[in-house]
């Protein structure tokens, strides 16, 4: 039980994992197969019953036909006997009249169905016969069964068993199988009445012809027995006479008219019996079941082959239909896999109306989703920009305190000119830092901001370093985001100059190349190893908060947010030699109001 349950669960799991196309194909095939099996079984049963019914009807018709033909034949024989008796024998006196001419005439007219016609006295003496012949020497006519039956029951017509006509001399070697029709007759001899027997030997070939024709049609066979069960005709009479075949004739002769199912010598068969009037003979139709089944089984084989073929075709047809249904869905599914990867996935819009509608709906949803995502990204970028700009715009309090302290010290020591210059530089620095809330300023302003910053730092560091500006002519008009050079200078001073023994140099270069603009800050400070250079701009790098408190990373991110990821900072450094930080910007002139920002 558990085994079956496990198997069933495995099967369910297997099916559930399969594709829609497989499920559709298998489902269609199973449903159609079950339908075909039911219909086939129903048709098989119906056809079987109809075939059996048809067989019965055919055989009944055959038997009726045989009975009609046989009755006609027998009535004809009886008419011959009646004609001979009432028209000839009763009209003549045997002493004076010769009946041989009438016998000959009657024989000649009916010789196709007659073997002989003869009249005997009650002692068995031949009175006349046609064709002319004499009785065999050692034959006692009175011992013949047909003679005895007619003598014993004068009023009746008697039909004998099938036998070889054996009473007349036969020199030509031809022997005939006959059924003898005998009757008692009254003979008049010199006015006296006496008994006699009239014999009409019917040629068996007439009976055989009737049955041979019938047996050539339909299933099974038809045979004829007399009331004692002796076979008169059977299509395999010689086999039966040679004891090579048995027939259930004795039992069949006792059946009443009707249909019987019997088993004879291990063979099941259907028997239809019909009694022939006048004679008590029985026509027996036999249909072996296996013959019926044999005929049916060939039809069955044909049907099975057709069903197999139909199922095979159905499998392909179902496969075709399943593909037609599932393929658009599969395409739709495949196209949906682009969502999340591709910003504009190509949603499949083919297939049936329903699938097209589904595709349209999904496309609409994807568009909306995309729009929403874009909005969120945009907002996030703006927010990030704002955060970074805010950070960038902050003035390091230490820087401001130290600067003001330096100014105060200059005033106390009466270095008024230096104090004025320093206040002037601080003023410029603050003015450009604010820039009326704009984030995008000209390169000229940014360079001015750098100069102001350097001027202040020179006072503070007592000219410990020297700065050099190498500015391409005309570059001032191009735009840049503000406060991007100052963090670089701050780093150069704090990390490049502060711990230097000799005089430091800071070179600021600004130049264009094609559509790009570069601003470089080079110091001849301590430099740094390559690993450190690589870490400076990555997400996880530590922000070196000394100086302005705003790291290179922030500058890098701001440039990328404003101008795209292809721009930003590039750092090259050689330990104990120098460090170059290069700002990479697009070369653009116009400053749109939108880009100006709204910070105040």
């Amino acid at each position: 039980m558990n085994y079956l349950k496990n198997k069933w669960n495995k099967l369910r799991t297997y099916i559930n994992r399969r594709e829609l196309q497989f499920m559709l194909s298998v489902s269609f095939t199973l449903v159609a197969l079950v339908g075909m099996v039911f219909i086939g079984a129903f048709l098989y049963q119906s056809y079987g019953r109809a075939a059996e019914e048809m067989m019965f009807n055919d055989n009944r018709q055959l038997i009726n036909q045989v009975e009609i033909n046989l009755n006609n034949y027998l009535r004809n024989m009886m008419r011959i006997s009646d004609a001979m008796y009432y028209n000839v024998i009763k009209q003549v006196d045997m002493k004076t009249d010769d009946i041989s001419q009438e016998l000959d005439l009657l024989y000649e007219v009916n010789k196709d169905s007659l073997v002989s016609v003869a009249c005997f006295s009650e002692d068995g003496e031949l009175i006349s016969a046609a064709p002319v012949g004499s009785v065999k020497k050692n034959v006692d006519i009175t011992e013949q069964s047909w003679f005895a039956n007619a003598r014993d029951k004068m009023e009746n017509l008697h039909f004998s068993e099938l036998h070889v006509q054996n009473i007349f001399e036969n020199s030509n070697g031809r022997y005939y199988w006959v059924v003898s029709l005998s009757r008692g007759v009254e003979l008049t001899t010199e006015g006296k009445m006496s008994g006699g027997i009239l014999l009409v030997d019917m040629n068996f070939s007439g009976i055989r012809q009737i049955f041979t024709e019938i047996n050539s049609r339909g299933l099974g066979y038809v045979y004829l027995v007399n009331s004692e069960g002796e076979i008169i005709y059977h299509p395999k009479q010689n086999l039966i006479f040679s004891n090579m075949l048995k027939e259930n004739n004795k039992i069949a002769s006792q059946y009443d008219d009707g249909v019987y199912e019997e088993s004879f010598q291990g063979e099941d068969r259907t028997v239809i019996v019909k009694t022939v009037g006048y004679t008590g003979w029985k026509i027996v139709s036999v249909t072996p079941k296996k013959e019926l089944l044999q005929d049916f089984s060939s039809t069955k084989l044909m049907a099975v082959i057709i069903v197999i073929l139909a199922v095979t075709l159905m499998v392909f047809a179902n496969q075709f239909v399943a593909v037609r249904i599932a393929k658009p869905l599969k395409k739709l599914e495949n196209s949906l896999q682009g969502i999340g990867v591709d910003q504009q996935p190509d949603i499949y819009m083919g297939g049936s109306v329903e699938i097209q509608h589904l595709g349209e709906t999904i496309r609409s949803m994807v568009d909306q989703l995309q729009s929403l995502t874009d909005d969120i990204v945009r907002e996030q970028e703006e927010k990030r920009k704002s955060e970074l700009d805010a950070l960038q715009s902050q003035i390091n309090p230490h820087f401001l305190y130290n600067t003001l302290d330096s100014i105060m010290w200059m005033i106390e020591s009466e270095r008024y000119e230096d104090a004025v210059a320093m206040v002037n530089s601080l003023g410029k620095l603050l003015r450009i830092s604010l820039s009326k809330g704009k984030n995008i300023i000209t390169v000229g302003d940014e360079l001015q901001h750098a100069r102001s910053y350097l001027d202040i730092q020179k006072y503070r560091y007592k000219n410990k370093f020297t700065s050099f500006f190498d500015i391409e002519e005309g570059i001032e008009k191009y735009r840049t985001i503000k406060l991007i050079i100052q963090p670089l200078l701050e780093n150069a001073i704090y990390y490049g100059m502060e711990y230097m023994d000799g005089e430091g140099e800071i070179h600021i270069r600004a130049y264009t190349s094609g559509d790009e603009l570069f601003i470089e800050v080079e110091d001849n400070g301590l430099g740094m190893p390559q690993e450190q250079v690589e870490r400076l701009l990555t997400e996880n790098s530590e922000t070196r908060s000394k100086g302005s408190g705003i790291g290179l990373k922030n500058v890098h991110q701001r440039i990328r947010l404003y101008f795209g990821t292809e721009y930003g900072l590039e750092i090259t450094s050689e330990p104990d030699e120098k460090t170059i930080v290069r700002i990479h910007l697009p070369k653009t002139e116009e400053i749109t109001p939108e880009e100006g920002g709204n910070r105040s």
Binding site: H163, W177, F241, F316
Partner: protein, 330 residues
């Protein structure tokens, strides 16, 4: 490209289905009508036209029951074993599925046929052709013996002269030789001795009828034994002729023969023959063909299957069993 291949596949499947359906239709409608049944050959020696009539009734019944065709080849009276073997060869070449053969000469046919290679079953009937070929026959020796016992019984009851002349024609057929041996054996074992004489034609140009009539004239045999259908017919005819020529002579010969032809039966009915031994030739013909087809289809055959024989006299001729076996109703 993929779509095109798919269309080709569908087209291929439909075409295959159409071919299969067409095949089924052909099988169902035409093949049943057009199937030719297997052909078997029956090759018989023959001296008179109806010599094998009962046998052929049996083969014809088998032909009908087994749904086969039979090709009959009858040899002429003066045909030889070589001609019979040639007929066998010809039938096989023409596609016969099996041969039913009544050899004209046991030894000669054996010699020729043992050197031949047979691709189809060959079954001898009535007369054998050596141990290489199965034979469907009656127990000829027993039949000859039964004839001898009938003659002895007749002698005992009639008190006639205890002398028998045996016509020893066609001894080249082992069926006749076996009958002869059985007959001679029975006569020789009689308590009261029987004079057994043999007569055969000095040469084949001597007409058989004249030869037998000369036996009546020369030897006046009280009992004459003929061991073959044709010999029995000839003996009865010769005896009828002799009696017509010698109406007043009291000499009477009782002929014991072997045969079931219409003529021998008629001679028995007309009392020109005292008794007939006959084998069930209908069975022989029917079983012969049946065995051939079984051999062909089931690779099985019983060697030397025996069929029954009976003795019939004028008195028992119209008894049911004899009547049914001796008088054709077809």
């Amino acid at each position: 490209m993929k779509k095109k291949r798919y269309q080709w596949q569908i087209g291929g499947i439909l075409l295959t289905a159409a071919v299969i359906l067409g095949g089924l239709y052909y099988y169902g409608i035409f093949a049943r009508q057009g199937g030719r049944p297997a052909v078997y050959s029956v090759i018989l020696y023959q001296n008179t036209n109806d010599e094998w009539a009962t046998f052929v009734e049996g083969t014809e019944q088998a032909e009908e029951d087994l749904d086969i065709d039979i090709n009959y080849v009858y040899l002429a009276r003066d045909d030889t074993a070589q001609e019979q073997a040639a007929a066998v060869r010809r039938e096989i070449q023409e596609g016969s599925s099996g041969i039913l053969l009544a050899p004209i000469d046991t030894e000669e046919v054996k010699k020729i046929m043992e050197s031949m290679y047979f691709t189809v079953p060959v079954l001898c009937v009535e007369t054998g052709a050596g141990d290489s070929f199965p034979v469907l026959r009656t127990d000829d020796r027993a039949m000859g013996k039964a004839m001898g016992e009938a003659i002895l019984e007749d002698m005992d009851s009639s008190g006639d002269q205890r002398r028998v002349i045996i016509l020893t024609e066609y001894m080249e057929r082992d069926s006749v030789r076996l009958r002869y041996e059985g007959l001679r054996d029975a006569l020789e074992k009689s308590k009261d001795s029987v004079l057994i004489e043999e007569r055969a034609r000095p040469h084949e140009d001597f007409g058989l009828g004249h030869f037998i009539k000369s036996v009546f004239y020369d030897d006046a045999p009280p009992y004459l034994a003929a061991l073959d259908k044709y010999m029995t017919e000839q003996a009865a005819a010769a005896w009828t002729g002799y009696r017509q020529e010698n109406e007043n002579e009291e000499f009477s010969c009782r002929i014991y023969g072997i045969g079931n032809t219409a003529r021998t039966v008629n001679e028995l009915d007309n009392e020109n023959i005292a008794a007939l031994m006959y084998q069930n030739e209908f069975n022989m013909g029917y079983q012969g063909i049946t065995y051939l087809t079984q051999k062909n289809r089931e690779k099985w055959l019983k060697n030397n299957t025996a069929v029954g024989y009976r003795i019939v006299t004028k008195e028992s001729l119209y008894e049911d069993e004899n009547e049914r076996l001796l008088f054709s109703n077809t």
